[in-house]
Subunit: 139 residues, 2 copies
DNA sequence: GTAAATTCTATTAAACTAATAGACAATATC
DNA sequence: GATATTGTCTATTAGTTTAATAGAATTTAC
């Protein structure tokens, strides 16, 4: 599942990237929340996490707000999802970034379930890590 | 996430399909649970659901147990996952079997997030619905 | 110094997951 | 037809996660 947290985070980041092209200066949480219909207090938490990971940049005080932390072609959808939702793998034994053996697994090499979910994982990661914010915003 | 429920269900079904080729007569829940290290009471619930959907067949009373409800090349991994975990789509607006519009969505056609998750969904469904139990058991 | 912002610390209701308990019903076998 | 064996049904529950909310603290522009 894509959680609401990750979905809100993606919405807000995409909106921010779009606005930044027109305007200069940061965008306030209140504006982001209102425009994307996201509960403001929940959005605060989300933006803070994205900031801690360098995706966004914030400025405190009056006239402050959020702006992009790096170039939109350096940020992938996969990065944002991992920050907000954790590992992409839907079963830990196939994850690159958060590998963990299954408790009951006898032999990972012959596990039919692993084989199938490895395929799902590979194709998902290819899409999410292969799409930058810049790509997502095109057209 | 692939829940433990779906994972257990897949394990049990694959084991059952394998055993059935050698033995004739049903396999007991207790044996399935022991062999696959699945909590027995939890497995009961899982097998019951698979039976209700025709994947498995059960026989009551002494000498009873579970057997396959249909041919292994007529059962897909996707079917089993949907029965035990619900819709495969990680965001409802891309689902074929459980479509639902997002609350805050203004225009589905231009939604960047939907576009990306549609790709993920399509490739996942292609794998899960394109793999039968017979395929999974090969080699 | 005051208003406008983000940040930090806590708390919480509701839903979901994974499991357990125990009574009930059906069937084979003796 | 009594008994042991096996699946079925109804209920309950501990723990975790999700999605939020509340309020005080901090930083900055003017």
């Amino acid at each position: 599942m894509l959680s609401k947290k990750a979905k809100y985070g993606l919405q807000a980041t995409i909106y921010l990237a779009k606005v930044e092209r027109k305007k200069n200066g940061p965008v306030q949480i209140a504006e982001l929340a209102a425009h994307e219909k996201i509960p403001k207090k929940f959005l605060e938490i989300i933006l803070l996490e994205l900031r801690k990971h360098g995706i966004l940049h914030s400025k405190l005080g009056a006239g402050g707000g959020y702006s992009m932390g790096k170039s939109v072609d350096k940020i992938t959808i996969g990065q944002i999802v991992r920050i907000l939702d954790g590992p992409i793998a839907s079963i830990s034994c196939v994850s690159k970034t958060a590998y963990r053996k299954c408790d009951e697994c006898k032999d990972e090499k012959t596990c039919e379930i692993r084989k199938i979910w490895k395929k799902v994982y590979d194709s998902t990661v290819k899409i999410l890590d292969g799409t930058t914010l810049a790509d997502a915003m095109k057209k």
